[in-house]
């Protein structure tokens, strides 16, 4: 397709500058997003469920609820979580902190029935590893808060807009040559060309995924503002109809049996199974219950499951992430956007698919930066200070951030039984590793730092099974390591991948390819 030269040039600039501004943040958002696909597996790997909890007795959950209400009426009335996904039910409530916000010092009290049917509690700090991965994904790891959201979330929202512009401009500049070189991966024309071809191929093939991610990230960050603006056009019409409030507070002693709640949920959708119920504010005039509903054979709209919101006393369905019937058209369309972002369709295949797409997305930003650096070096004929700076920053941020997570996993698991406050420990390890590697990258230069970083990543991934063995050795009966064996297996697989990348990068840096950021003359 023919596109005017000046328009091509304009979009080339748009592509470059949006990519350079947003690329590094998006890199972190994407690879961490890939990890969130398996954050529960990673959570179970780093902090396995305590043995005494695993040895609790299988009883009808109602028995457990009744005994817990009798023993801890106050705590239970504030709200509690009931897990019924497993044969052995257990419930928990916050004995310090709460579910809202990002408190690192939350304490949970777990309650279950021991082998004699007696109520037993176990107090533990809430292990937030999965949440921290999620936080890294949503904020890029940027600190600070605005209102009820993290600063990083808003920054990533802006980055998502730049990313959309980068996508469109990337497609525009490819239009003239798209049909000729689409599937071409030209190895013989040098490494630079191969990187460019791969960058283009990944970008075009995963374009629909990227478009959905771009605008959903923006909506996740700015929905409050978008609704405010929309409200101006709605005039006197309220955007949302609030359910009528009752004045009379309810009381936990009148809580209907769990069975009745589950029956109502089943009547709402027969295909779903309730795996988790969260009861909130049970002694207030406005109590609510949130049910997590699993349906492995269909698309779900939350990060893991569908949601059903019910009144815990009247058992009315108040809202759900999967509206039923003819009035559900709009709600279901919106629900689709959520599931397209979260990758919660197609069960485990969808999960793996999104894991890969996320990594390919990260590759898109990494390769985009490197291509630009190579091109600038060729054009200038020498290494300018600004180019060198960007090269060091790119290697430092991309590899450093991944290294940060890997080191956190290994040390976090090894130190699980230590006296440290674990959630804070995770943060310290991540940010220290991240910062140290960026420093190293500026000290060693991009070429040496990238080989070193890739090797360190390989070593770190190999550390995953080693950490498992260490825990098993020091504390043989605490946990069953077999439950999370796949994390160890993939640690080894990724160690291999990083080692391969390290050797490739090293070879390239020795080939003395004319003025590339990889060439030897650049320290």
């Amino acid at each position: 397709m023919k596109v005017k030269a000046e328009i091509l040039r304009t979009y080339q600039s748009v592509h470059t500058w949006t990519g350079i501004c947003a690329g590094l943040l998006l890199f972190i958002g994407f690879y961490a997003g890939s990890l969130t696909m398996f954050k529960h597996q990673l959570q179970a790997w780093i902090a396995p469920i305590p043995a005494e909890l695993a040895a609790a007795t299988a009883v009808p959950p109602q028995q457990l609820i009744d005994k817990a209400i009798a023993a801890y009426p106050q705590a239970m009335a504030k709200g509690f979580e009931l897990d019924i996904a497993h044969e052995v039910p257990y419930l928990s409530w916050y004995s310090q902190g709460g579910a809202r916000g990002m408190n690192l010092d939350n304490q949970l009290t777990y309650a279950f029935l021991n082998e004699h049917g007696e109520l037993t509690t176990h107090v533990a700090g809430e292990n937030k590893f999965a949440d921290l991965i999620d936080y890294l994904h949503r904020s890029g790891g940027l600190f600070g808060e605005i209102g009820h959201d993290q600063l990083g979330v808003y920054v990533l929202g802006i980055a998502a807009l730049l990313y959309f512009l980068a996508l469109v401009s990337g497609v525009v500049i490819l239009l003239p040559t798209l049909t000729k070189t689409f599937f071409a991966l030209r190895k013989e024309k040098g490494a630079s060309r191969l990187w460019l071809d791969s960058h283009n191929l990944v970008g075009i093939v995963s374009l629909p995924f990227h478009i959905v991610i771009a605008f959903s990230v923006f909506v996740f960050a700015y929905h409050d503002f978008l609704y405010d603006g929309l409200g101006k056009f709605y005039g006197d019409k309220p955007l949302f109809n609030m359910p009528p409030k009752t004045e009379q507070p309810y009381h936990i002693n009148d809580l209907p049996k769990l069975e009745l709640l589950l029956e109502k949920a089943h009547a709402y959708s027969g295909q779903h199974t309730t795996v988790h119920v969260s009861y909130n504010r049970l002694n207030s005039p406005a109590p609510f219950a949130t049910l997590k509903m699993e349906n492995p054979s269909a698309l779900v709209r939350g990060p893991d499951t569908d949601y059903l919101f019910m009144h815990p006393y009247t058992l009315d369905v108040q809202n759900s992430s999967f509206p039923q019937g003819v009035t559900g058209t709009w709600g279901n369309t919106v629900a689709t956007f959520f599931s397209l972002h979260f990758g919660t369709y197609g069960g485990n295949w969808g999960r793996w698919g999104y894991f890969l797409m996320g990594l390919l997305g990260a590759f898109l930003f990494y390769s985009g930066n490197l291509l630009w650096l190579d091109k600038r070096t060729r054009k200038d004929g020498e290494q300018k200070r600004s180019t060198l700076f960007m090269a060091k920053l790119t290697i430092g941020v991309c590899l450093g951030s991944m290294l940060g997570v890997v080191v956190t996993l290994v040390l976090g698991k090894a130190l699980q039984q230590s006296a440290f406050a674990l959630n804070e420990l995770y943060l310290w390890i991540y940010y220290l590793t991240f910062g140290a590697f960026i420093g190293l990258s500026f000290w060693l230069g991009a070429r040496k730092a990238s080989v070193f970083g890739l090797k360190a990543l390989a070593l770190g991934c190999l550390g995953l099974p080693l950490a498992t063995m260490f825990v098993q050795y020091t504390n043989p009966y605490a946990v069953s390591w077999l439950d999370s064996i796949w994390v160890d297996v993939f640690g080894v697989v990724f160690a291999g991948i990083f080692l391969f990348a390290a050797s490739k990068t090293k070879r390239r840096s020795q080939s003395r390819e004319a003025s590339s950021i990889w060439s030897m003359q650049v320290a």
Partner: protein, 99 residues
């Protein structure tokens, strides 16, 4: 607008084109969604439609934004986005005032 028939040379006009895409693009996206909200399928009262409407603002805005660099000059970008924006706001408030 150019009436001489002579095609004006392409100018980068980064700032004015970017501002046109950012501001007018958002204004245009909002009024399109507003018209859709009141007069599109289901009308204003359809259940959960407000969520759909909110969601659609971003893709519409982003699309307009990304297209603004096609205009030959920044001035043309402001004119060609500004006129339909004003017209649609006029239509919207006229329709609403008649209701």
């Amino acid at each position: 607008m150019e009436t001489s028939g002579q095609v004006q040379a392409f100018q980068a006009d980064w700032l004015s084109k970017t501002l046109a895409g950012m501001l007018l693009g958002l204004a245009l996206a909002y009024v399109c969604i507003a018209l859709f909200a009141w007069y599109g399928p289901g009308g204003i009262d359809a259940q959960d439609k407000v969520q759909f409407n909110m969601w659609m603002i971003a893709p519409l805005w982003f699309s307009i934004f990304s297209a603004t660099y096609v205009f030959r000059t920044g001035k043309r970008a402001w004119l060609l986005l500004g006129i339909p924006t004003l017209a649609l706001y006029g239509v919207f408030f006229l329709l609403r005032s008649m209701a």
